[in-house]
């Protein structure tokens, strides 16, 4: 099974949390061979939302969802089942101060 881990928080990480980064999680998971890709994201204040309506490109400043929780990064993983995905997500340091949504990927 393949999953996206969407890492989100309702606040910016503290300097200590930032300094800790992924706390060795990325290295551990890469060694385990479950990581298929991913990226950390710049804050939503620097994002731009695009829509095309009636052939016109419309831009808005900011993210599309105006909620408190904002996605700060995503990781694609491949593992046996949801239980293993939960175990992987629960070990990510961001689960300790933010939250992580596990989304199965569409597979053909």
């Amino acid at each position: 099974m393949q999953y996206a881990l969407l890492i989100a928080g309702d606040r910016e990480p503290t300097p200590e949390e930032l300094a800790m980064g992924c706390g060795g999680w990325s290295e551990e998971m890469a060694a385990r061979g479950v990581v298929r890709g991913g990226a950390g994201l710049r804050p939503p204040t620097e994002s731009t939302t695009v829509r095309v309506r009636d052939g016109e490109v419309l831009l808005t400043d900011g993210p599309f969802a105006d909620t408190k929780e904002q996605i700060g990064g995503l990781v694609l993983i491949e593992c046996a089942d949801l239980d293993e995905a939960v175990e992987i997500a629960a070990r990510h340091p961001a689960a300790g101060y933010g939250m992580i949504e596990i989304r199965p990927l569409i597979t053909s």
Binding site: A80, L82, D83, P104
Partner: protein
């Protein structure tokens, strides 16, 4: 008359449905297909058993038929769509003539239905459909929702199991304790859903059935047996819990001849067996409490069991029950002391329990206030009727003067010499005292009061406005610190507009005379001097602005 083939099919449905579905899910990995094939197998039994006779092993017969149907269906679909994975799985399955492994299938099914990634109602609905064989209409009725709503919910849950990769298995050892707790939690919630609402009672039967199954499948898990025993012992009182009007009947008032003795015996046997495993847990402790209730309530034992339970389950509700048991074992004062400082927002049983203790202590005025709080939180009709009846009764008693003991009460106040015409000069100072306390980071520790020190109705009165405080505090300016003396007081609470207090005072005086009681007071040229004569305003005007609904207590200190 021997049971015919139709009875045999009905019996097989009850015992074999879950096994057939559980095995078919493992073999095909497809929940819908598994259910459909199980249904077809039972339909075949209805047709064939009257003709061919009931097979020696009905379960194996049904599973074999269902598997053949599944294989046929998958082969047919393969022509159009690719379902190679399932076929591959099926092709490598040994023929299920032997029933070994089928029990594991049902255990897999329970753990998968109760996976914590599914919503509670979906967990229960899936378990009822796949393990217990309830129809979608029956499940919808149990949850009091339309059938289409329930079908959608179950459909979404099945899609999530498939697409999110929820594994079909008994969890590995490191996950087993927490996941077993989750499964037991689902069964207990299912039971409580049925127990709290009489129309949803079938949920109780099914929860008991599934717990019985779980106990068979996990004989070494003492909490599974503990939960089964707990549910059996509670459910044994179902016919005695409500009277003919649907009102709650308290345990002590229940007609014990209406308890189900067969269920009590089964529950007790299960509990005795698992307690011998010597690994106590919350369900076993609660079952032991229910068991004691079934034999006449040994309150000191029940209080000890609740004390142990409060260690395993640190919840305020458990502490509340502990206090209730202690009150029964040692008296309401001991129970009341345990409620000190407890707060369970929105939970009507806390003020209701406090009210009951106060009522039994004869502190009717305080009980009235607590019953009112409980009534403000209770929602179930039967609970509200019970509380209203108690409130009316207690209010009636509260209107009767009683002699009470009051402890010393620290307070802060302002004193004025006034006449009846200039009474607002002191009455209007109340808010000022609250402000004075707030400036010091303090809050009142009780209801405000007027204390009448000297009364000469025709001329002047010396009156204090005061608020109880939790601890001594330095007086400042016109606000001073004092202590209301401990002792015996005559007390009466008036429910109604404070302007009616003159009449209430007159009645209290007459009552005291009739009882031969004397106030702790002396007559002086300036008027009657009272050691402690209080008018306590129990109702918060922000909560109840209607003064005709206020409760005001008169408490006059008696001569020793």
């Amino acid at each position: 008359m021997s049971a015919g083939p139709a009875d045999a099919v009905a019996a097989a449905f009850r015992t074999e449905w879950g096994k057939v579905v559980a095995t078919l899910i493992r073999v095909t990995g497809d929940w819908d297909l598994a259910e459909e094939c199980a249904q077809e197998a039972f339909a075949a039994a209805v047709r064939q058993w009257p003709v061919e006779g009931v097979p020696r092993k009905p379960g194996a017969w049904l599973t074999t038929i269902a598997r053949h149907r599944a294989t046929d269906r998958i082969r047919r679909e393969v022509v159009g769509a690719a379902k190679l994975r399932e076929v591959a799985v099926t092709a490598h399955e040994p023929d299920p003539v032997d029933t070994a492994g089928i029990e594991d299938d049902r255990l897999r099914l329970i753990f998968t239905c109760c996976h914590p990634a599914l919503a509670f109602e979906a967990q229960v609905a899936l378990a009822l459909r796949t393990l217990a064989g309830l129809s979608m209409a029956e499940i919808a009725r149990a949850f009091l929702v339309p059938e289409t709503t329930m079908a959608r919910r179950v459909g979404r849950a099945k899609a999530k199991i498939r697409n999110a990769g929820i594994p079909y298995r008994v969890p590995p050892a490191h996950l087993l304790p927490e996941r077993t707790t989750a499964v037991l939690g689902v069964l207990y919630l299912m039971f409580n859903e049925g127990y709290s609402t009489p129309e949803r009672r079938p949920l109780c039967d099914e929860a008991i059935r599934l717990a019985r199954l779980l106990t068979q499948l996990m004989p070494d898990e003492p909490e599974a047996g503990g939960l089964l025993a707990l549910m059996l012992l509670h459910d044994s009182r179902r016919h005695a819990r409500f009277d003919e009007h649907g009102d709650v009947v308290l345990l002590a008032d229940q007609d014990r001849s209406r308890w189900d003795t067969t269920q009590i015996a089964e529950g007790r046997a299960v509990l005795e067996r698992v307690m011998r495993l010597d690994r106590l847990g919350p369900y076993q402790l609660q079952a032991a409490i229910a068991d004691s209730h079934a034999t006449g309530s040994d309150w000191p034992l029940i209080a000890r069991l609740y004390a142990r339970l409060a260690i395993v389950v640190p919840s305020p509700v458990v502490r509340l029950n502990h206090a209730a048991a202690v009150a029964m074992a040692e008296g309401p004062a001991a129970g009341l002391a345990l409620l000190d400082g407890m707060d369970i927002p929105g939970y009507h049983l806390l003020p209701a329990t406090r009210a009951d203790f106060l009522r039994r202590l004869g502190r009717h005025a305080e009980a009235t206030v607590a019953y009112e709080q409980a009534l403000g939180l209770a929602t179930a009709e039967a609970d509200r009727r019970f509380l209203t009846a108690r409130l009316t009764e207690t209010r009636g008693r509260a209107m009767q003067p009683t002699v009470i003991e009051r402890g010393e009460q620290p307070y802060v106040g302002i004193r004025r010499t006034i006449t009846m015409q200039t009474f607002p000069e002191i009455a209007d100072r109340m808010a000022g005292i609250v402000g004075w306390l707030a400036e010091r980071g303090l809050a009142p520790a009780g209801a405000p009061f007027f204390r009448y020190l000297v009364i000469d109705m025709a001329n002047e009165l010396v009156v204090e406005a005061g608020f109880p405080v939790a601890a001594p505090v330095e007086g400042d300016g016109e606000v001073f610190f004092g202590v209301l003396p401990a002792g015996r007081y005559a007390s009466v609470t008036h429910h109604g507009h404070p302007s009616e207090l003159m009449g209430v005072t007159k009645q209290l005086n007459e009552w005291a005379d009739a009882q031969g009681l004397r106030w702790d007071a002396e007559q002086t040229p300036a008027g009657d001097k009272f050691v402690c004569r209080l008018e306590i305003y129990k109702t918060d005007p922000r909560v109840q602005p209607d003064m005709s609904q206020w409760d005001t207590e008169l408490a006059f200190k008696l001569a020793d």
